[in-house]
């Protein structure tokens, strides 16, 4: 059965834990971004964008602020790389464990994210390489679109049991409604 046959097909997966770093630039923006691009192997994603740079996933989260998701093994080295590249134009902070990630697979992720939400997850402009922060079921959440059939959702660990439970129930309803 092709996925298209079931537009609402969706499955939830809790990926392996990873290291999470945060860096912010407060001065010398162009030069700092160039240094970081060289150090990380590609241009920093723009506003509300995300991208794979080498083995890391960069996500724009706030003005002049990015999150870096990397493997537990690369965590410390990446933190040092960021600190060096930033120099006096910014700083990096270890945030590992501060957000829990859920991967939502299947073409139905857009429908799933409209349930209990206020964000237009079904808009074609919300394409791979886009990020969005919003609120679902009283919980703060950030989406990172990985591919047309896959999105990552981040929320603080304290909110994750209830929020991921909410999405499990919603996914079951979508399955049963088919």
């Amino acid at each position: 059965m092709t996925n298209a046959a079931h537009p609402d097909l969706v499955s939830l997966q809790t990926p392996e834990p990873s290291r999470l770093l945060r860096f912010e630039i407060w001065s010398g923006h162009k030069a700092a971004q160039a240094r970081l691009a060289k150090a990380l192997g590609g241009p920093l994603p723009g506003i509300c964008k995300s991208a794979d740079l080498g083995a890391a996933r960069l996500i724009w989260v706030e003005q002049n602020t990015w999150l870096v998701r990397t493997s537990p093994a690369d965590g410390d080295e990446t933190l040092a790389t960021l600190t060096k590249a930033l120099g006096k134009d910014g700083s990096a902070t270890d945030m590992s464990g501060a957000l829990r990630r859920l991967r939502i697979n299947g073409p139905g992720w857009r429908t799933l994210l409209t349930i209990g939400g206020v964000f237009d997850a079904e808009s074609p402009t919300f394409a791979p390489g886009c990020m969005a922060g919003t609120i679902v079921a009283h919980s703060p959440v950030r989406y990172d679109v990985i591919s047309e059939d896959c999105v990552d959702a981040y929320t603080p660990p304290s909110y994750s049991p209830d929020l991921f439970g909410f999405w499990c129930e919603a996914a079951e309803r979508l399955a049963k409604a088919r």
């Binding site: 964000f119 922060g133 703060p140």
Partner: protein
């Protein structure tokens, strides 16, 4: 529920935002007491357009200045907070 065009994230539902205060009520720590009392403890409270400070709390956590009519709710501008405020 308002639709506010966040300068970073585009038009988003009011549920993602928090109203902080009128722009005129922003007080810096070095303000004199009379200025602080005027800004913090009185309001023009207009029934019409006025500049307000909002935060895109659940979006980009950024702060924006919104020019909004408190009666019709028509929003004529939403700008990053450090931009020059047009008259």
């Amino acid at each position: 529920m308002l639709l506010i065009a966040c300068p970073n994230c585009g038009p988003r539902a009011q549920a993602e935002f928090t109203f902080e205060r009128p722009l005129a009520s922003i007080v810096t720590p070095t303000e004199t007491l009379p200025d602080l009392i005027h800004k913090l403890f009185t309001r023009e409270n207009p029934r019409g357009p006025s500049w307000e400070l909002w935060r895109h709390t659940y979006g980009c956590a950024g702060w924006l200045k919104v020019h909004r009519d408190t009666h019709s709710h028509q929003i004529s501008a939403a700008l990053p907070v450090d931009m020059e405020t047009p008259s």
